[in-house]
């Protein structure tokens, strides 16, 4: 699952534009992910600040 580190996130929205599943939403100054996330990891790679991380299902 996708973990968002809110303390790192610069709420720029780049990940939202690149998300192929429309799973991300930028709400003012925070990012939300919904259940449509397919775990492709594109957002984690492009994040300028490294605020996104994909963990194995079940882990937290």
């Amino acid at each position: 699952m996708l973990i968002i580190n809110r303390y790192k996130c610069g709420y720029c929205g780049a990940c939202v534009g690149a998300c192929p599943a429309t799973a991300l939403e930028l709400v003012e100054t925070w990012l939300e992910v919904d259940e449509s996330c397919v775990g492709c990891g594109i957002c984690t790679k492009i994040c300028p600040l490294g605020a996104l991380e994909l963990t194995e299902e079940g882990e937290t």
Binding site: L24, L26, E28, P48
Partner: protein, 391 residues
């Protein structure tokens, strides 16, 4: 609430669309999801003087600096200079977007548009599959805004297009991601916008330093999404700063992504038009988006006024907007996309060779388009794919 047109997003594209349509007599509602218009900034703030002045009268309150041109550095440090004197240059003013964006929204308001901040679009209202407005959250309360036409000016993170079935997904190779610091340092060149090329410096992109006033500059980096790993933009910019301006103080930090996809297949759907970054109308070579966004906003606002009065807002009718932007700004966006596709494949030694090939040439007064032509002529083998530019 009812109106003729809802514009989602109060950046340069949305505010120009709202202003233009309101000037033509439409009842316009302009939504901004943030509490403040223009903040946080996600932009290097450089803009061409002439193009800007065609749309809005320059004012010192939102111009941080005026530059003489651009200085571009090859990976080996060899510079070349392009001056700003020529019409259509890509640099000229460095803006204060926080003030600039609010000024444009104010112009929309003065034209009669109703501006609503802290109002986030949640989805489309629909009847029989045709959009009839926007559902939004206004200071935490759900509201419905009925309108026969919606303009999505909701930026890189655009949702309006996706709701309407328009494919706006950016592939990693078609997005530049970056970080910018507002830096204070005695070494800043206040007269030129500087660009630093190189695969080590910024893979598939560049580092820029745009003056923002005495000893101040926007120092930023953009890298191609497909060559990024988590946090790479920040690490590379911090390294650049350490190597080039070790004494610099960081006064502000900005983060952002820029579409460099070239023209996307469609920017309209029944009752919906997209403008600016939402329509991926930023320049794939420079990453500049302000002028294209404003021009597209004006075109969309004009088309909105024509069609709402006529009553036909089908996708077929909205093709006028598609045609207008593709015939104007779209041409340069398409051309620069093919140039970008080539430039991102160049090695540092290729880039050095290109800059060296300009030695002895008078490039100072060339526009980007003519510079690309010259480069294609001087480096026919390397830039074979740009041969159409040699003419």
């Amino acid at each position: 609430m009812k109106c003729d047109l809802v514009v989602v997003g109060a950046g340069p594209a949305g505010s120009m669309a709202a202003k233009t349509a309101a000037d033509e007599g439409l009842d316009v509602v302009l939504l901004e999801k943030r509490q403040e218009i223009g903040d946080p900034v996600r932009c290097a703030e450089g803009v061409g003087k002439v193009a800007l002045a065609e749309m809005v009268k320059p004012d010192p309150s939102w111009i941080s600096a005026e530059v003489r041109g651009a200085r571009i550095y090859a990976p080996d440090g060899t510079p070349f200079v392009m001056t700003e004197d020529r019409a259509g240059s890509e640099v000229g003013y460095v803006l204060e977007r926080k003030v600039f964006d609010r000024m444009l929204a104010m112009k929309a308001a003065e034209a009669g548009a109703r501006v609503m901040v802290k109002t986030r679009a949640l989805g489309l209202l629909e009847e029989n599959g045709v959009p009839t407005g926007i559902i939004a959250l206004h200071i935490g309360e759900k509201i419905e805004i009925e309108a026969p036409l919606i303009i999505g000016a909701d930026g890189i993170e655009s949702k309006v297009g996706r709701w309407a079935g328009i494919d706006t997904v950016l592939k990693p190779q078609d997005i530049e991601v970056g970080v910018q610091f507002l830096v204070q340092d005695g070494k800043i060149d206040g007269e030129y916008c500087e660009f630093f090329l190189g695969n080590e410096i910024a893979p598939g992109g560049y580092v820029w330093a745009f003056p923002k006033g005495k000893n101040l500059a926007n120092l930023g980096i953009g890298i191609q999404g497909s060559r990024s790993d988590p946090g790479m933009s920040l690490r590379l910019l911090q390294r650049f700063l350490k190597e080039h301006m070790p004494q610099a103080k960081i006064l502000e930090m900005m983060v952002g992504g820029v579409p460099v996809s070239g023209p996307i297949e469609s920017t309209t759907s029944n009752g919906v038009m997209l403008v600016g970054d939402a329509a991926r109308q930023s320049d794939p070579i420079t990453g500049g988006g302000i002028i294209n966004a404003m021009r597209a906003g004006v075109m969309a606002g004009e088309v909105a006024a024509e069609l709402v009065q006529q009553g036909d807002l089908s996708r077929e009718a909205l093709k006028i907007y598609e045609d207008r932007w593709r015939d104007t700004i779209g041409k340069q966006i398409a051309r620069n996309y093919s140039a970008k596709e080539l430039f991102v494949t160049l090695t540092d030694s290729d880039l050095n060779g290109l800059v060296h090939s300009l030695e002895g040439e008078d490039v100072a007064n060339l526009e980007l388009k003519d510079l690309l032509k010259l480069l294609a002529r001087q480096n026919p083998k390397l830039l074979w794919k740009l041969r159409h530019l040699r003419r």
